[in-house]
């Protein structure tokens, strides 16, 4: 089942939709599960960490993959339409991939596409994730409750897929 997130998707970089078009689905611990019509009714999980960093992980139903995005109001140095490299350290495994800058009102940050099932496994099973970008930003997020939240995202996505197909 955990591969469903990977298998549900395709493409290169996510287009992050503006917040008002999203629909709340339900919550799972600190994570809000949301449906994003802008990416073909893809489900995502989102939370704001204690340090003010908004973290979002979502499905891209039209793509063969998903995305992870992190935004913070303090990251004012991030410019639009920039690409870079980021590393994702789960302690057990280390990942690296391309990122693209994202600006949503006051929020600035980056987003990375993934389709490696191991990344999602780490995200579900890990305790903490340290993210470092080529722009010099480094921060750690807690992965408490991610296993349940990812399961909810998959459930949400299955529901959306069913609606889309019908």
């Amino acid at each position: 089942m955990k591969q469903a997130l990977i298998l549900c998707a395709l493409g290169v970089l996510p287009v992050i939709a503006v917040a008002e078009s999203r629909e709340d689905w339900r919550t799972s611990g600190p994570w809000q599960i949301i449906v994003d019509p802008a990416v073909g009714r893809g489900c995502l999980m989102e939370t704001v960490m204690a340090d003010g960093t908004k973290v979002r992980v979502g499905v891209l139903p039209q793509e063969d993959g998903g995305y992870i995005a992190a935004l913070n109001r303090d990251w004012t140095g991030i410019e639009p339409n920039k690409s870079g490299i980021a590393r994702f350290d789960f302690g057990r495994d280390l990942f690296e991939g391309e990122t693209r800058s994202v600006i949503e009102g006051d929020w600035r940050g980056g987003s990375a596409f993934f389709n490696n099932p191991e990344f999602l496994e780490n995200f579900e099973q890990g305790r903490a994730l340290t993210i470092a970008g080529s722009g010099g930003i480094q921060f750690e997020i807690s992965l408490t409750g991610t296993r349940r939240a990812v399961a909810e995202v998959l459930k949400c996505q299955e529901e959306q897929d069913r609606q889309v197909a019908e």
Partner: protein, 898 residues
Amino acid sequence: MRRGAIWAGAVVLLLLVVLPWLVLESAMFSKLRRDLVSRALSEELKIPVIIDGDVSVSLSRRLRFSVVDAHIPSTTMPDRITASLGAAQFSVPLAALLEGRFPIQDLVVRDLDAEAYRDSAGRTSWTQTGGLFTATGDNGKPKSNLLRVFYDKRIDIQNIRLKLINDQSGFDFLFDLQAFLLDYTGSDNPVTLTSHGAMNGQPFEVTGDFPRGADFSIAAMFGRQQLDISGAPYRDGVTDGFGADITLTSPDLQGFLDLVALKGDVEGSGRLSFALDHRPGVIELDRIDLGARTGAGRSLMVRGRAGNLLTLDGIDLATDLRLVEDAATIPPAQRLRDIRVLRVTADILGSRGQFELAAIDAHTNAFDTELDQIGPARVGKLFRAEDGRLELTGIRLQSGDPADPFLVAEGQILDLLALKAFRFEGQLNGHADMIFPDISPEDLDELGRVQASFALSDESGVVALERLVAESTPSDLWRFRGQARVADLTRFRGASLAADMSVTGAGAVLQVLGLPDSDIGTVALELGAEAEGSDITMFLGLDVDGTTARLDLSHLETARKNILRGALFSPAIDLDGLLGLIRSGVDMAKANRQDSHAREQPSLMQDRRVPKPLIVAPDGRAIKPLVVQLDPGRTMLLRVLRRLDLEFGIKVDHLTGNDTFSGIDSRVVMNRGKLSAGPLTARVAGAHVTLGATSDVILDPGTLHVDGTMSGLSLSRVLRLLRIDMDASGKIGGSFGVALDLGRDVPLLRRTTGWARFDMKNGEIATSLIDLAGLGVFPWLFSGRAGRGRAPIACLVAPVTVNNGTFSSNQVVLETDAVQVILKGKINIPANQIALRGEPRPATRPLARSAFPFEVTGKLTKPDVSIVRAGGESREKRGVRTVVQNHQPCRVYQLDPQ
């Protein structure tokens, strides 16, 4: 005397002054002057010059001729005039004239109309030899006089209209020149050429230097197109001709098309350069380098050489046509209509006017293909039509063995630049070795060929396969006929296909192919299909010995779904024959696969495995990528499965050749990856089994859930299977629900988990041991059952769980008319182990202490049965004498908990 002298003087004066004046200028001698000058010019220029107006001559160190209204008629076409001029002046040195020569110098012309005309048959209005541009050499062969004409003349022409009309190629060039000046200032100085005006309505300007025997250069601008020529005549005294480097730069390809009056719609730029070697009978182009790029991101590169342009010999051009700017940005095609050609590379080889396309690589966004050599090809005519289209007609193309080509096609493209208005008709001639590469030549003859004719055109406005008719050549072994048409090939609309094939001696065909023989007799196949884009309906009819079947399929594509409906109907299928046919098909496929495997050179760069990183993090961990390359085949399959909405019915009235299925009336349904199939009624081990199956082929493709019911399983057969040698009667029924793990490579039973429930009523078993064990020795002896040697079975209820080959139960109840036996334990079939405990009791006193509780342990095939003396459960301690009123057979009684 003095008077005579005066007269004599007058006569001399008349002879010396007046007479020459009269001859040179007076109207009286006008005709004489015209004839003399006309003849002299005709001899000098080697073409007839006719003077219609007057000629006057002024005398100095040179004679200066003034001619009004002259023309040069065509010597080959009497109704055409090669040139006409309004007025001309030129000089001839007196000394040369006295020597009988008439070399023209310092030519000044006003209002010149010139025309060079070639008719559609190739005849020209000018002579091919002699004249201004070509001269006859000492050896009688033509030699180039093209440059010689520029070396020793000063020519000043104003108001020129030069028409080059070629009805053979369709290209017309109209030069409207305000001035043309060829300036010759002495034998050591270069002749300079300057001219300006318009060509085909576009501004035209040319400058050039022609030093005698030295390097020359020409720079011309045609609108925005720039032509640079720098060259030199051959000075070795042997070769007659010149070599030149020529570069044509076009910053505006549309402007170039306008210049040559061709209809086209192209934005872009291009550059062509080559080294020209011009000798009598030879125009050789070397170092050809053409690069053109359009605004739409398409590009064409051509590099190579042409040994002789006149005979089209020695052509060797490497072409690279890119149809998209960046192929990496084009997504892989998911549907037929999404397939786009991205890039084509080919080597064009030409010899004696025939072309071959060798080493063709075509890259699309769905597949890459390396075509076998196409060619030789011949082009009849390249022609510019009156409306500006560039036509290519008389194309003849073939492919395959030159002596026995696989493809021969003839056709034309009436708008070459737009690749439109084309028609090709041809024949295909296929051999069996196209399908079976290793077949021997003798066997090849036996199987014959498939010949087809086709017509491909876009006359309807879209590319259409108007006709494809194929038929096998007469053979005793098989026959094939088929026809197809597609109204719109690019969108696959309006397609229809009909084919029928019969193999008279399928076994013999297999022998010919070197495959295992089979008993298959005549096989007949019939196929029909209609397609409108992705919406397809088709049927397939099959007639093998004893088997007739018809398969109907329809496919409808909507925005979100691919709806596939199908039905297989057969009044009778002989499974043996069908399996034989399938085996033959598999053998053929294997033979082909082995062959293709043998030929393939696997490329490491195309290996789908995820490579491990060369670079690892400083702490030694490998850095894993966020994005991995997914198996494109699986990705494509998942896309297809997600969209697929399938309903498929199967109805086979009589299925012979097997003991399991007598007929099938079943459906397969799949929607969003959820597959369900059933019911399937089968006869297994004498029992009737009705099955249904479901699977989630996207999320859990490795698991097949099977549930169903069973009836009529003979108890005696079960005992025989358990190797219990005992007569019995009664039929067992039941239901089950199991999941099969399809991914593991172990026997089916070990991949099965789930449940089953068996029950039976009114049977009999040929032993009274059950009654003995339940009643105890004395009650049994006095019950009258001791001598029966059998026991009727009132009921059996056996709920069982199945886990990878182990059947286990907590409560199997078997009841005779006197005894209830409760069994618990497990049977592990893969491990051949049994561990059962049974507690028989009187049926009317089910709470009584069991007289002979027993255990069956050890190997399933050779179990140990033992009586457990100390047996008994807690209920027995408190309910020894309890008699149950209105006992329900197979009901298990429990005491209420204390």
